[in-house]
Amino acid sequence: MKPARDILVVDDEDVITHAVQRVCTADGLTVDVASDAAEGMGRVLRAGYRLIISDVMMADVDGFMFLVDLRKRRISTPVILTTGMSTMQNAVRALGAGAIDFIPKPFTSDELLASVRRGLVYARLQAEAEATAHDARPDTIAWVPPPPSYYRLGYASWLLAERDGTAKVGVTDLFLRTVDAPTAFTLAAEGDELVQGSSCATITAADGLEHGVLGPVTGRVVEVNAAVAESPAGVERDPYFEGWLYRVLPSELQYDLHHLTACSSDRM
């Protein structure tokens, strides 16, 4: 089924749906609007979209339930969640529930656009992967998933717990592929505190948009990968080994791991 429109916005506040519509339409995208989850589900079932942006706190069903409902109906349209309850906990929960991104309100037009563009690329890559899923030997690999011993937060960042109690943190290949040509990485400094679910690094794309990478762990940065700060190309070449971003001393690793997805479970 070819999607009728690009984006569906579900939010009970008119000002939000209008603002999103305004920004996305100006970017050349077609946008439909629904004011609650039931209406949103009706539209999805009727038409189908490339991307859904949904609020978390709505009158009838909350955003998390809406997401679960979609998956139950075997609708794999990528969902971006957004909420006024802009806490790290909600960000982590949203990504854990299968949302591809979490935009805390209020957001600027650029923040929205960056997330939407990544979402649309994600949808395309996902469609390509599904198309080649039945090929015994696909010609191209859409993206490289993190190694099985890694943990990931959504599809954005990964974490590798090391034996010495520190943890390496990096960005996933899929996230990099959804960013339109990264030109620069803005990283935290040594000694800075990272917070799980908060942006831990910013990737500037060729189109000028800045993409925040939600960090997988809370803790103090003990080492920054200097090679990445100098040249972002290294991350794209090898995001899981040479292209790590930080070595972090986690505050509560066990607690944080609880909210991450083990990459070993991705291959089942």
Binding site: G84, M85, D192
Partner: protein
């Protein structure tokens, strides 16, 4: 409480009764034994007398000198301590007597003096010496008399005497009966008994008084204090303290009681605080949701507009301000949520003077309206600090607005002076240990037991026979530790991780102050903190911190010429929802400030004089 139902009176009565029974038994026994001894003495005396009479008359009897015998008996019998001496023959006839009227009378064998030997009509011939004595009353109203009979046996000299009065076959020839009056003895016995009874009563009364006093002093009063204390505590006064001067079990009970009320009071304080924080969290969540939706409209449209009007510089400047300030609103709301969740600030290197200048420009209009002058005396040598610039700006905006409110709109204005300076301070006493772990990397930080409202460091301690937690003061150098266990001085204490029981003791490194065993835990990335296991010793060492010497701080003082804060309100002003502004404020400002400064490892203190003004002093470490 009725007197008889108190513990003290019960104990006193019980001890008194036991004493009464014991003393009475002793008195009775003593009096009986006295009486027996006296009677035995009289009996011995009577026996001696009887033998003397018998011996002194024996010769005259052999010679049958009856007149001489009469005279001897009469003369001896004249002694006032002797009642009567008489000699009866075998037929019971009185032959000689000190009472001459009795001579010749025949005694009935059933008479008092005779029954001992003559039972059942059969004359007995041998009578035991002890049985020869008798104590009797001649008449019911006369005094007691002791009588002793002495049989006169037939001897060879008698049967072969010239008179031939007694045939050889006779064994007993007659009986000598001596009776002594017991009036004196009885008087002495009665006197003795009276003395013993008086003594017993005296001892009993004295004992009761002493026991009563001691029980009152050692038991009743301390127990009453305890009861009074429980009433106070039940009535909600958790600051009530019992004097702990005693060293016995009730003293220990008082100490445990005080300890318990102190714990209760701390727990209640935390409960109130966490209750307030929970309401703050709900409030923040509600505010965030309500405000963030309209803010999204503002931010999205303004940022969108800013992007589309890049060619119109005159609009660009204005839009930039709208976007920047809306983003600041976003950060404020977020920090409200962050504070409610005690999250970590986003820190970066920043110049505190610039942050203050920015905060000043934000509140400028409001201050001008209130005719408040903001004097900035910013030190030129103030170093960069690692802070969350947005949060710090919020701190100063809040402080300036508070100061302006304290000056008030109708006072004709006032001055707020903000000064910044750098200073060096010893890290001891002002550095908070925020992370602590055992060798297996378990966190020792305990948020439930707080010392000065900061999470303590919890370790498990074990001594011979007892085990408990020690809560270490998180402020290095202050040593306001709390002990859940009271090891005796000199006892070896094993300290371990509460989670995995990994040993924390440092072997072979006794405390330099008191020689007790020491232990250590790791502050990740900042070395080890050592401490002493002796409760009375305050020694601790954090080599990594101390070798760094004095630390650089930036001090910011915000002084206003406002109305001031009453002294009794000062300790509470950093509590959530505590407002001095009545309806006007929401009581969150200073609590948020406190949370932010605490998250920056800094400190905030307040001094105030009513009518003079208020000064807030903030110290932020240069090294994070």
């Amino acid at each position: 409480m009725p007197f008889l139902r108190t513990l003290g009176s019960k104990l006193t009565i019980a001890v008194g009764l036991i004493a009464l029974v014991t003393i009475s038994a002793f008195a009775v026994f003593n009096s009986r034994s006295d009486e027996r001894a006296l009677l035995a003495e009289v009996e011995r005396h009577a026996n001696q007398l009887s033998e003397a009479v018998k011996s002194s008359t024996e010769f005259d009897m052999l010679l049958n000198q009856r007149e001489r015998i009469h005279e001897t008996v009469r003369r001896i019998g004249q002694d006032p301590s002797i009642q009567r001496i008489r000699i009866m023959n075998k037929a019971g006839e009185v032959i000689y007597s000190s009472d001459s009227a009795e001579i010749g009378k025949s005694l009935d064998k059933n008479a008092e003096a005779c029954t001992l030997c003559h039972k059942a009509g059969q004359p007995l011939e041998k009578v035991d010496i002890a049985e020869r004595t008798r104590v009797y009353r001649a008449h019911p109203d006369s005094g007691r008399t002791l009588g002793i009979i002495n049989p006169i046996y037939n001897t060879r000299t008698c049967s072969s005497a010239a008179c031939h009065a007694h045939p050889r076959s006779q064994t007993v020839l007659g009986v000598l009966d001596v009776t002594l009056p017991l009036a004196e003895i009885d008087k002495s016995i009665r006197r003795g008994q009276t003395e013993v009874i008086l003594l017993a009563v005296g001892a009993f009364v004295t004992l009761i008084l002493i026991i009563g006093l001691l029980v009152r002093r050692w038991v009743a009063l301390p127990v009453r204090h305890l009861v009074e204390a429980t009433r106070h505590v039940a009535g909600g006064d958790l600051n009530y303290v019992i004097a702990e001067e005693r060293s016995d079990e009730l003293g220990m009970l008082a100490r445990s009681f005080n300890n318990m009320t102190q714990r209760l009071s701390e727990a209640r304080l935390q409960l109130v605080q966490s209750d307030k924080l929970a309401s703050l969290g709900r409030l923040a969540a509600g505010v965030a949701h309500e405000i963030n939706n309209p803010l999204t409209g503002v931010l999205t449209y303004s940022s969108f507009l800013q992007k589309r009007t890049k060619d119109q510089p005159e609009v660009q400047e204005d839009l930039k301000v709208i976007v920047r300030e809306t983003i600041r609103c976003r950060e404020i709301v977020k920090s409200l949520l962050d504070f409610a969740r005690q999250s970590v600030p986003k820190k970066g290197q920043a110049a505190i003077n610039e942050i203050i200048a920015r905060a000043a420009s934000v509140v400028e209009n409001q201050l001008t309206l209130n005719q408040v002058k903001l004097a900035q005396q910013l030190g030129a040598d103030v170093p960069l600090v690692t802070v969350d610039a947005n949060q710090m700006q919020q701190v100063f905006i809040n402080l300036f607005v508070n100061a302006s409110d304290a000056i008030g709109p109708d006072t004709g204005g006032g001055t707020i002076t903000v000064t910044t300076s750098r200073l060096k301070l010893s890290p001891i006493g002002i550095t908070q240990i925020k992370k602590a772990q055992c060798p297996k990397r378990h966190s020792l930080i305990n948020a439930e037991v707080r010392i000065d409202n900061k999470p303590s460091i919890r370790v498990r301690a074990r001594t011979e026979g007892s085990e408990g937690f020690i809560y270490r003061d998180p402020m290095y150098g202050l040593a306001r530790h709390q002990f859940g266990i009271a090891p005796e001085p000199g006892m070896h204490v094993e300290v371990m991780c509460p989670e995995c029981s990994a040993a924390l003791n440092v072997h072979g490194s006794p405390c330099p102050d008191c020689g007790a065993a020491t232990f250590q835990f790791e502050v990740p990335g900042k070395g080890f903190v050592e401490g002493c296991t002796n409760r009375a010793c305050t020694w601790q060492r954090w080599t990594e911190l101390e070798k760094g010497g004095d630390k650089d701080f930036v001090e910011i003082r915000v002084r206003d010429s406002g109305s001031g804060i009453p002294r009794d309100e000062l300790p509470r002003i950093f509590e959530p929802f505590y407002s001095t502004k009545g309806q006007k404020g929401n009581g969150l400002g200073l609590a948020v400030i406190w949370g932010i400064i605490d998250n920056h490892n800094g400190s905030i203190t307040v001094e105030s004089e009513v009518g003079e003004g208020t000064t807030f002093t903030i110290r932020i470490p240069v090294e994070p």
